[in-house]
Symmetry: C2
Subunit: 216 residues, 2 copies
C-alpha cells in the first residue's frame, strides 16, 4: 500500500510568505520563539516544512521578516487611529491614548510577541534597528500631540522638557499596556483606556477627561 502524496494548490509568493509569517507570529505570541519550530510553522500555515526553505533562505530570515511585519503593523494600526479624529489637539491626544490601551494594541498576543522577540532583538543589530523605528514612530507623534495641546492652552516648553513629558506619558501608557496585557482579568473592560486618558491628563495638567464621551 503506497500511501499517496499529499495534494496541494499553487499560491503566489506573496500569499505563501504571508501565510508563513502569520503562522510564525501566532506561534511566537502563544509560546515564545521556542514554539516556532520549522515543522510547527509549516503545519499551521497548511504546508510542509520544506516549503519554508523555498521562500526563505533560512529560518532566521523568516523570523526576521515576521518581526518587521509585526512592528510595521503596530505602527500603522496606531497612526491610523488619528485619522478619524477632529482637529482639536486635546481630543486627538485623548483618542491616541485611548486607542493605545484597547485591542488590538493591548492584548495578550501583542505583549507575547513583544516578549518573545526581545532576546532576538537584543542580540541582532538588524532587529534592533527595526525595534527603534517602531518605538519612535509611537513616541514622536505623542510628543507632537503634547506640544500642540500645551501650545493650545497657552503653555509651551523648551524641546528638552517637552521630550521629557513625552517620555513620561509614553511610559505611563507602556506600563498600563504591560499590566493590562499580562493580567487582563485584573481590569474591567474600558478601565485601562479610561485610566490612561485620565492619568495622562493629570500628568500634563490637561483636561483630557472632557473628551471621554467621544470614545468607544
Amino acid at each position: 500500500m503506497t500511501q499517496e502524496r499529499r495534494k496541494f494548490r499553487r499560491e503566489g509568493e506573496a500569499q505563501r510568505q504571508g501565510d508563513l509569517i502569520a503562522a510564525a507570529l501566532d506561534l511566537i505570541a502563544e509560546g515564545g520563539p521556542q514554539a516556532a519550530t520549522v515543522r510547527a510553522i509549516a503545519q499551521r500555515a497548511g504546508v510542509t516544512p520544506g516549503l519554508i526553505r523555498h521562500y526563505f533562505r533560512t529560518k532566521e530570515d523568516l523570523i526576521g521578516a515576521a518581526y518587521a511585519q509585526f512592528v510595521r503593523r503596530m505602527a500603522e494600526d496606531h497612526s491610523a487611529t488619528l485619522e478619524g479624529a477632529g482637529p482639536d489637539p486635546l481630543a486627538r491626544l485623548a483618542r491616541f491614548v485611548w486607542r493605545a490601551l484597547c485591542p488590538p494594541l493591548t492584548d495578550s498576543r501583542t505583549v507575547g510577541l513583544w516578549a518573545g522577540f526581545l532576546h532576538l532583538v537584543r542580540n541582532d543589530p538588524r532587529m534592533r534597528n527595526i525595534h527603534r523605528t517602531g518605538y519612535l514612530s509611537f513616541r514622536d507623534p505623542l510628543e507632537s500631540l503634547i506640544g500642540e495641546c500645551l501650545a493650545a492652552t497657552g503653555r509651551s516648553l523648551p524641546p528638552r522638557q517637552l521630550q521629557a513629558e513625552a517620555i513620561a506619558a509614553n511610559a505611563l501608557i507602556d506600563g498600563l499596556w504591560l499590566e493590562g496585557s499580562v493580567l487582563p482579568e485584573d481590569f474591567q473592560p474600558d478601565e485601562l483606556p479610561r485610566l490612561g486618558v485620565e492619568k495622562v491628563g493629570a500628568l500634563l495638567g490637561l483636561p483630557l477627561t472632557d473628551h471621554l464621551e467621544d470614545m468607544q
Copy 2:
C-alpha cells in the same frame, strides 16, 4: 589511551542548587529560555549535565525554582530600600520610586529575565501565582505609601480610587523601567529615576521633587 574521568569536589545541596539556579538565570537573561539547555546550564555551573537531575526531578522544576528565586530577590531588594528611609511619607515614596528605577531593578538583565519568563508564566498556573505574588508585593506597598502621603497632605480617597492611583503610578514606573532597560543608551544616568520621582509627583499632586537631594 583511556581518557581519565573528570575530577570533582563534593558540595552541599544548597550550594549546588544555588549554582544551577544562578546559571539558569544567567542564560535566560542573556538568550531567553531557549538558551537555557540542560547542557549549557551544567557547563556554566561547572558541573556535568547529569547532576541537574540529581537535584531537580526535571528541568522544568529547575526553571520553576529559578523563577521563584528571581521574583523573591526582586521583591526583597526593593522592599529593603525603605528601611534606610526616615518617617516622612513623602520622602519614603520618593525613595521607593527612585530605587525602582535604578540598578539592580533597572538593568538589561532584569528585563531580559522578565521577558524570558513571560511565556512560561503564561502557560503554567504555578508560575502565574509566583508572578502575581511578586507584582502585588510591589504594588501594595506603593498603594500604602500613596495613601499615607495623601493623608498627610489632608486629602484622602476611597479605597477604589486609591487603588486606581496606585495602578497608574505603578504603570508609570513600569513603563519607565521598560524603556530604560530596553534602550539604556537613550537615557543619561539618573535621568530615569529623576523623571520617575518628578512624574509620580505630578500624577498625584505631591511635591516629591523636594526630596530629590536625599537620593543618590
